[in-house]
Symmetry: C2
Subunit: 312 residues, 2 copies
């Protein structure tokens, strides 16, 4: 909402200068740091590298989308997804649906036609249990103090936006912007990981506990969110020509190291992350006149950085 970029840059400079002069005056009360200052002050231990065994590269004509899988939440689905990627199952298939303010979805456009559909290949289990939630026991969660409407508690677990209910003893991945889920039919245990969707709009948290969620896009969301919307019902593309071709979906561990995206994600279980959340809950930069005093898990940024770029 800044009126111009040049002013934003000037402001950033002004804030840096202000911070510098404030730190020189020991008597001045410290102004809370903004997100960029917090990230600039982070140490290596505040970050975690993506595990290549839990990282998926979705290669589109327009670039690479990087997905972090969540075996902590959906181990059976993630095992199937690894098998499908290993088998090259999605290579040559397409994104078949883009519904505004909701989801994009990919898979086999001929999935319903037994004579045309692509075989899943080795190591794929056609029947999986629903994994819409898991036991909270054994899962560490950074719970936000902010009330969450959709769940008794919400926060971050294993780096993912998540929620939990002490009454049921269960935890689950929350449907936020960028969350990846497994498409299914009517039966809750009818997903198998071959058809995946990504949230591209206002967090559809009503899907929580109704569909198995398998991970989160950590980089390249803009390649999915800016796809033309489908004009058919539910945002399905009406013609094959409209579908976005998938060049390949590969597990990072199976990709030569030189071709990998060397990404680090900010940890969500550190004092630095707590400071970052507070910096977004109550914005302190000069643009904001009224701190919100509240934040929703789906509004918390989860910073990613490229280690390769850092080394250059």
């Amino acid at each position: 909402m800044k009126r111009s970029l040049s002013q934003a840059v000037l402001l950033a400079l002004a804030l840096t200068l202000t911070a510098a002069s404030a730190s020189a005056q020991t008597a001045a009360p410290a102004k809370p740091r903004g997100m960029q200052d917090i990230l600039d002050a982070s140490r290596p231990a505040d970050w975690r590298a993506l595990d290549p065994n839990n990282t998926l590269y979705l290669e589109l004509e327009r670039g690479r989308v990087v997905i972090e899988l969540a075996p902590q939440f959906a181990p059976a689905h993630v095992a199937n997804i690894r098998a499908l990627a290993s088998n090259g199952y999605w290579n040559g298939l397409s994104i078949n649906r883009s519904q505004d303010n909701y989801v994009v979805q990919w898979g086999d456009a001929n999935a319903e036609d037994a004579s045309k559909r692509k075989p899943f290949g080795a190591g794929f289990k056609p029947k999986l249990p629903a994994e819409v939630s898991r036991k909270s026991a054994g899962l560490s969660m950074t719970v936000l103090p902010d009330p969450d409407g959709w769940a008794p508690q919400a926060g971050f677990a294993a780096g993912f936006p998540a929620a939990r209910d002490s009454a049921t003893g269960s935890s689950w991945l929350a449907h936020c912007y960028g969350t990846v889920g497994a498409g299914r039919d009517m039966a809750i245990d009818s997903s198998n990981g071959a058809e995946l969707y990504v949230v591209i709009g206002q967090s559809p948290r009503h899907l929580d506990l109704n569909i198995t969620t398998v991970g989160r896009v950590v980089k390249g969301m803009e390649l999915l969110s800016s796809l033309p919307r489908g004009t058919g019902a539910l945002g399905f593309y009406e013609t094959a020509a409209e579908r976005a071709p998938i060049k390949a979906i590969r597990l990072a561990a199976k990709v030569p190291k030189a071709e990998r995206s060397d990404l680090e994600v900010l940890r969500t279980d550190t004092p630095l992350f707590a400071e970052l959340v507070e910096s977004r809950r109550n914005r302190q930069d000069d643009f904001y006149k009224r701190p919100a005093g509240y934040i929703n898990i789906c509004n918390v940024p989860l910073p990613v950085r490229d280690r390769a770029a850092k080394k250059k």
Copy 2:
């Protein structure tokens, strides 16, 4: 997330048949209606026509975006916007910013250059009061029972998602997907309506009470949300060629009737709307296994229909 469209259609048919047979058995408990059934049962009084004096057409190469202005909340800004539209101010200007999961923004790319910027024309006031909120007195609001985190109360006023605070006696438009706001500089009263943004991502409610909001996109969101993201800071396009040209922005009242979009929007102050909200708070169709028991104002659909299409 349906696995296929054909199954969705079959399901819709099955639900219709079930509803028909249920109504034939007087003893059977009525199953709550889903959104489409509710809309199908609506009467003319459940809808309101858009007021041409409060309706803006943003004409892009890819089609028309229809915006409903909110003079109930930002009368001075709306007056300026009407003047600018009347003067053809935006015609030939461009969308200059598309930041993923945040906003698109348009206006004069040369606004900061006094020698190049476009004159605003007659009837435009360069200096406006901030209109980030208004007095609650005189404004009817349909308040949702669901807690809202960002505000003491939230619901719908004049058909817009809105919030209010009895402690301050003020109400304001909420930043949801599709909300239109007035870009500003650092000072809260530095917006003038010439630069406008639209939310294209997770509701940035922290902007509430910080920026003047002027309306809402009621049709054509997909034309904005699917624009390529800008690669510059804050999602600004880095070159003029990337900007999306604006053919025209016109007030509907100034457009010949034959060229107008003849739209009706569902009223938000009716029993039918309350039923619709409940149908989304607790989904009853067979796809959902666990009703959420909660809804956020930014997740409530605000249906729009084309009267011209209905007559055909």
